[in-house]
């Protein structure tokens, strides 16, 4: 359990933001932390959507319950947070 900085490229946002998370966080918790700094601040919420995350350059999303410590993500790595329809 340790503080861990990531770089958030949040869908619809204008700049990368520094987001502090915890190595024990799941990807859903990492998404919530990123959303805190973008959603309803510079990006409009999209009803019926949740936030998912993928590594920059990757096409597949990371599993929602995957823990950060197990994801092989480097400090300050740029993660892309994107909207996904709830029913998906």
């Amino acid at each position: 359990m340790a503080l861990f900085p990531i770089s958030s490229a949040f869908e619809g946002d204008f700049c990368l933001k520094l987001v502090p998370v915890d190595t024990d966080n799941t990807m859903d918790e990492v998404c919530a932390a990123a959303a805190h700094h973008s959603l309803s601040r510079s990006v409009a919420p999209r009803p019926g959507h949740r936030i998912r995350v993928r590594r920059q350059g990757a096409t597949s999303l990371l599993p929602r319950d995957l823990k950060l410590i197990d994801a092989g993500i480097a400090p300050m790595e740029c993660l892309h947070f994107v909207f996904e329809r709830e029913e998906a």
Binding site: S7, C15, K17, L18, H36, H37, R41, S42, V43
Partner: protein
Amino acid sequence: MSLLNRSDWYDLARTTNWTPSYVSQDELYPEVHAGSMGIPQESWEVYDEPYKTSYPEYVRVQREKDSGVYSVKAALERNRLFTDADPGWRSILKMHYGGVALAEYAAQQGEARMARFGLAPGMRNMATFGMLDENRHSQLQLYFPHELVSQDRQFDWAHKAHHTNEWGAVALRSMGDDIFLARDAVSTAIMLTFAFETGFTNMQFVGLSADACQTGDYSFAHLISSIQTDEARHAQIGGPVLQILIKNGKKAEAQKRIDIAIARAWRIFAIVSGLSMDYYTPQENRKHSFQEFANEFIVGQFQRTLLDLGLDLPWYWDILMKETEYMHHAYHIGIWTWRPTVWWNPAAGVTPDEREWLEAKYPGWNSTFGRCWDVIVDNLVAGRIDLTLPETLPVICNMSGIPICGIPGDKWSLQDYPLEHEGRTYHFGSEIDRWIFEQEPLRYRDHMSVVDRFLAGKIQPMNLMGALQYMDLGPGEMGDDAHGYAWVDKYADRVAAFAAANPKAA
């Protein structure tokens, strides 16, 4: 006694190269300072400065210029322009003075290096005058804002900015260190005078002076155009240097220096001029958009100068041209959002009318940048200023020192350009910034961005207040919305809709 014409004695008087006998040529002109690239001294002696002046002529002309500037200032001292001016215009003045006044001292040192270590006598001569020019520019741009400090403490940043760790000042110093201060004489001639001054400041000052006239700030307009006449002269130091380099087979070396300097200067220019022209200048006083200005002066004129000299456009020209469409819009949202971290009050410049203007100048603005502003406006309408203020830092580019930005909204395009070097991962805002680092990692590798410093624990406490203290921004200095959010009332439909939905709040 009649005096000879300047042309009768000038060439002889400035033939000041000699053969040293007490020290070697290398000791007199160490390569690290001279940057001759192995081109022998006699090849530099063909340097022919396009603008020739003697010291008495220089002093007479400069004295007249100074008299003009100070007398206009004195004549207008009692007018109410400062108090009556739009707050957006005052912000332009503050941003300009803080960013530029002490950078002129840095440029003075660059000129001093050329005056001492330039291998061409004509270059040394011109740089001596350039050095005096830059000193004058610093003094003027410290003197003018000084009288405003008692009315508005942010004007104190004309002198203070470069002495702080404020993020914009760090970015400016990094650029200035790279292309004015920590280069040899030949590189300085190319990077400072040719790329930075011919390409950007000379043109930026023309635009700024025109905007000042349009706004009715004749004192500032006169000041800026007076400075610009000096710039137009000493910016010509680099041209003949480039001709000598190309003639002696060093085109690639010259081109690389130009490519680096243009890229580094461009980002600062995009902030200083982009925000001023498209957002801070009151709409009725705008003559052109930033992109139109950039296209007319940078692309139209500077591009032609480059090609006429036999050089190429920088390899990234298409990327840079694309950036003229969007990058400064993203910088603007960032600076407005992180407004407590700057020494001026950013003007939002996004009333419904202003958005129409932006959409006309930048088709698609409303569905991209406008999307972010829609959220900000809704928060302000709802009285949630807290949601418009940041709770974290932006990720900052390890080259430009500016937040890594992209296109928001419907055409979302945003990414990091990382690079691993000697076990450290660097983050860049574009391929261009990353390329600059790769050209000379040793020069750049130890620099820490404000975010790097934050993560290294150098900023305590680790929150926004800690960051503001680190940047030396005290109460009365940190920025807030230039118009006190009054512009939000122009969104009458949204205000009415919110009031209808929230009768208690209304």
